[in-house]
């Protein structure tokens, strides 16, 4: 089921109502059933994968705790179940395609298998959530749950199942297991988050996506048009993905559950490291805790640190999609982080405190982020190389004017995001994503939410595209 559909609105209203009407002891089973309905709504056979991972991590976690002498084998089995599923359903074609390409380059006449494997939505998200549970049990950070329903609900909780945030067992499991009370403030807050999320998706992301999609369909995009398209995509991907998170968090709040925040105004970042503290936080902290730190983190000298950063980011790139452009995108960010840390150590600390330097840093970071989005958006790597290498500055008559028009349009649709950032930066009361602080803020926020709701009705596009992160 997709969020931006009437099906989901009706589904959510029913689930929230029934959930609070039910006796507390039945709520978890009900939420689990609802989550399976949500996931299997279009393709019921995808549920088998979810069940497979759930059973695997449930069994392995119990094995780790109850059979201490087999802790490692159970850990490896749990990880292999999740990674194996990812390998087959997400990376099989990528792997085979590259092997066939390499063999052909060696002069061998081979062809790939004819089978087509469908990529189930959200597979990367629930696989990573499953792995974190097994690792946390292995590390002793969380107790293995004997209740299958608890583990299954942790894996399948519908608001965050398809595109995160990637929850940790230490944060979500206790909430799912506790007795929840209906709280009006959480209900209202959830509703506001839903409206803000739908606004970002249906008004901002969908409208600017028209520009990005047009530009990235061009055979020979000129320099100004290409970057106008990249800017549009930059706004689109943030509005789209953060909208998903807000809708997920809003839906969960209405059920009395708090999900982690995934975004903190990422385009206000002043350095590559800062960017990843603000963008897709649940994924970057996952990689930090389960890949980067176990590899050694920043211990062991600059060279080892650089190796660890590069490996983590290349892996993070590959997580996004089975295509080389995502690996290159990950590598690009790895290089930026390694480079910025090296440069940072060379510069005097007082330099960063100078007025104006911080603004310049943010602007430079925004430009570098856009270069990254170009690598991310253009999946045809040969095409990208050809266009950038052969005709980097080309522009036909009228292209500059058209690009200026599109940039202006992107800016107009981004204004609510800019206002939101400004209010947050000033610590104002009208934050849409923060709890209701006082009666006056409730009035302001209700008025804002009503305005956003009206804007959704009159400014949404005719067709809404899928959330970008659905395909990951």
């Amino acid at each position: 089921m997709i969020f931006q559909s009437l099906d989901f609105i009706v589904f959510l209203m029913l689930v929230v109502s029934i959930h609070w009407l039910l006796a507390p002891r039945y709520r978890s089973v009900f939420l689990l059933t609802a989550s399976y309905v949500f996931y299997g709504y279009v393709h019921p056979w995808f549920l088998f994968l979810l069940w497979f991972v759930t059973i695997a991590v449930y069994g392995c976690a119990l094995g780790i705790e109850r059979l201490p002498s087999y802790r490692k084998p159970f850990l490896l089995l749990g990880l292999a179940s999740c990674l194996g599923m990812l390998g087959v359903f997400k990376y099989f074609h990528f792997f085979v395609g590259n092997v066939v390409f390499a063999l052909r380059a060696l002069g061998l006449d081979v062809s790939g298998p004819a089978i087509q494997i469908v990529l189930p939505v959200g597979i990367s998200f629930f696989a990573f959530q499953g792995m974190s549970y097994v690792i946390d049990v292995y590390r002793g950070q969380v107790n293995a749950r004997t209740s299958f329903v608890s583990v299954a609900l942790f894996k399948a909780f519908f608001p965050q199942l398809v595109a995160g945030p990637i929850e940790r067992a230490t944060h979500l499991l206790p909430q799912l297991e506790s007795r929840r009370e209906l709280r009006m403030d959480l209900l209202i807050e959830g509703l506001f988050l839903l409206i803000w999320g739908f606004f970002k998706k249906l008004v901002i992301a969908d409208n600017v996506s028209i520009i990005a999609n047009k530009v990235f369909l061009l055979e020979h995009p000129s320099f100004p048009l290409l970057w106008a398209g990249v800017l549009a995509f930059c706004v689109q991907i943030f509005a789209d993905f953060s909208a998903y998170t807000d809708i997920a968090r809003g839906s969960a709040k209405m059920l009395g559950i708090n999900l982690v925040e995934n975004f903190r105004h990422p385009y206000a970042a002043s350095s590559p490291t800062d960017f990843w503290r603000r963008w897709h936080i649940s994924l970057s902290t996952w990689f930090r805790d389960y890949v980067y730190i176990p590899l050694g983190g920043n211990r062991g000298g600059r060279l080892l640190e650089a190796r660890n950063v590069m490996f983590t980011f290349l892996l993070s790139g590959l997580w996004h999609g089975a295509n080389w452009n995502y690996v290159v995108w990950g590598g690009y960010w790895g290089l930026l982080i390694v480079g910025s840390r090296y440069l940072g150590s060379l510069m005097p600390a007082a330099l960063w405190e100078r007025r104006g330097v911080a603004t310049l840093q943010v602007l430079l970071m925004f430009a570098l982020t856009n270069v990254g989005w170009l690598l991310f958006r253009e999946t045809d790597f040969h095409y990208l190389l050809r266009e950038l290498a052969l005709r980097p500055w080309n522009a036909a008559a009228g292209d500059w004017e058209a690009a200026a028009y599109f940039i202006c349009l992107v800016f107009l649709y981004s204004l609510p995001l800019i206002v939101h950032f400004y209010i947050d930066a000033r610590g104002g009361v009208a934050k849409v994503s923060e709890p209701i602080a006082s009666r006056s803020s409730l009035a302001i926020r209700t008025a804002t939410a009503s305005g956003l709701f009206l804007a959704i009705l009159v400014l949404r596009t005719a067709n809404s595209g899928d959330f970008i992160y659905f395909k990951f």
Partner: protein, 352 residues
Amino acid sequence: MVDVVEKSSVIEDEERRTGRATTGRVRVVTAVAIFFCILAPPALIRPSAQGKLSFDGKLLDDMNAVSPTYVFIGNSMLTSRIDEHVLAARLGERCCFLLSTGGAESAWTHQALKNVVLAAHHRPKKVFIFFRDAYLTQPTYRATDRYWWRIEHLSHEDEPELTRAMTLSRTWQEQLAYRLEGIYPVQKVRDRASAAVSWIAGEVVTPGRVKYGESAGQKYDGLFGLDNLRSIEADDTAFADQDLSEFDFDARIGTSLLPSMIRMAKEAGVDLVFVRVQRRPTIQGPPAQSRELQSYMSGLRAYFAGNGIQFYDFTGDPELTLDHYLDGDHIRPEWKPESTGLFLRRLQKTFE
């Protein structure tokens, strides 16, 4: 002592709880009140007294002005294949094209036939309706949102056939969306709202050069013309994922608008000619057709024959090869005159 302390803490808890509940309820009532106060006034903005968009008589005026012998109804499938001027010159007759770019499926076609062609002062000799595959019996295909507004622009207040077909064919989601739009018709100003945003952007970039209400972005459409785009295999992938029940001809004909089209034309003494265009062929030959689609086409063919309606199917035409196609199912613009000639040759008897 312990009892007293415990009791007082229980009371405090209860007070806190009830106090919070009362505040919570007040907050909800306040929020709902503000929400409705802001959303109520726009609900009064209605495109017409009935909440429906008013009938647009422009196409009818065009029909009356031209008084055509032949009328052609369709969308880009028609315009990319038939050159209006070449056709009129070759036939030596007045022709009129009723087009809905990017739209025009069966519901729009039905309304164009009923309220434009058959409502005109002069009755044409023949009406050609271009369509693809099973769309003729899918009234709800391209009949939501902006597409629906186009249909409303060709509709009067009372349209029993259209209402019946839509009610029978809409899914519950489409029905709900339609009802919600009826309750809150301000949503129909969406075109004007997006045009306003576009105008502001246009004013910033080229001040004073765009009239308010015009889409400033239209002048840049040429940059994204089909010739400038990367090759696309198919422009209409929606059809590939289509529900197989759409191909159950016997089940679909009763809920479609096709019988109404045929009945109206017969009553008016106008001949209908249905033309099925060929979808994008493959390098090996004509496009593949599923068994379900073939069965559907047999049913449709038999239905036309039973009602004495002319039908021509271009699928499998040896002259319509892949190199004549631009993107998706569209024909290359440079081949349009030849395509018009092919149409005239294949349907020569129809024009005699």
